[in-house]
Amino acid sequence: MTSKRDGRGGRAAGTSTAPGAPPQTDRELLRRYHEGGDRTAREELVQRHLPLVRALARRYAGRGEPLDDIEQVGAIGLLKAIDRYELSREVALTTYATPNVVGEIKRHFRDKGWAIRIPRGLQELNARMSSTVERLTSRMGRSPTIAEIARELTVGPEEVLEALEAGSAYAPMSLSGNPSSESDLDPMEALGGEDEAFERSEQRATLEPALHALPERDREILRKRFEEGLTQTQIAEQVGISQMHVSRLIRKSLARMRAELSG
């Protein structure tokens, strides 16, 4: 008989580990993983509960962070929940995992998102501004002024400037956008590994050596801006991110490179 529940609220799988075998419950999979070290059971649990992660991640969408990245962070929370789950618990994995996933996402926004405490109203205005700038740019065929952005958002120019500045405090770290071989490294850790042989004193005036230590996408954005001379709007269209995000990435990349050269 194929039960839909495992008696403790654990959801049964839609798939099974052996063809033709009945789906195993969460608890059975947890037992296989924790007692037998079966990592395929762990993987099956992850796949089974990814829809939960996606649903939770969607609650945090629209706050300036790509949904894919939030889902990945949430998936880390799920993995931690699976790893920390104690079989003696009389609680379903979904119940146990939910606060872990949400906690991981919140921690991400706190640690990797808003670098300093920004009032919520400004965060929300900043998030709205990104799409507003794109919409106005498309409508007018040029970059909008502060006053135009303010009118569109029915706020004052000072609020727009404050919200823009709030955006500068937001430092999204790419969780998935770095296809380079350094993808397992924190971008800050990845800096400078190739360039130690250079005499720093001779490199202070040039940013070039540190360029190679940046994630490929950031490097490409800098190349488009400073070598091809594309505008932020053009780069945003080509790369598929907002103009404000392009601005942030350029500023952040240059600051990182300068910091690296300063040793």
Binding site: E165, R223, L254
Partner: protein, 130 residues
């Protein structure tokens, strides 16, 4: 009519960059700068401030002139700025301070020098198509 000029003395260091950007943002708003033009001006000033070297404070003077904005930033690290602004043309693929400034402002150069360091001038033309 007196020149429309804003002067700001800021401690050198990144902690104060947000304040400088806010001031420049206000000036950009008065000038009707486009979002990307304003961002360019902020980036140019921010990059130069990063070259303050051992200076304790940097003076930023921004003047609204006919057709645009003129800024002066200094004193800055003499050796770094001299190499960056007066050295050879950047090679293709090389990203230097000079290339950054060439991209984001219309002209720049060393305007003054004293015993504290160099003062760099930035000119940004305002494209009034609005």
């Amino acid at each position: 009519m007196p020149p429309e000029r804003i002067e700001l003395v800021t401690p050198a260091g990144r902690d104060w960059s947000p304040v400088v950007r806010l001031v420049l943002g206000g000036i950009g708003d008065r000038l009707d700068l486009g979002f990307d033009e304003l961002d360019d001006l902020q980036l140019a000033v921010e990059r130069l401030l990063a070259e303050a070297g051992a200076q304790e404070a940097v003076r930023i003077s921004v003047e609204i002139v006919d057709g645009g904005v003129k800024a002066q930033i200094g004193p800055l690290n003499e050796v770094t700025i001299a190499e960056a602004l007066q050295g050879p043309e950047p090679r293709p693929g090389e990203l230097t301070l000079r290339r950054v400034l060439e991209t984001v402002v219309d002209s720049f150069g060393v305007e003054d020098v004293d015993r504290e360091g160099l003062y760099v001038r930035l000119d940004k033309v305002v494209h009034r198509s609005r």
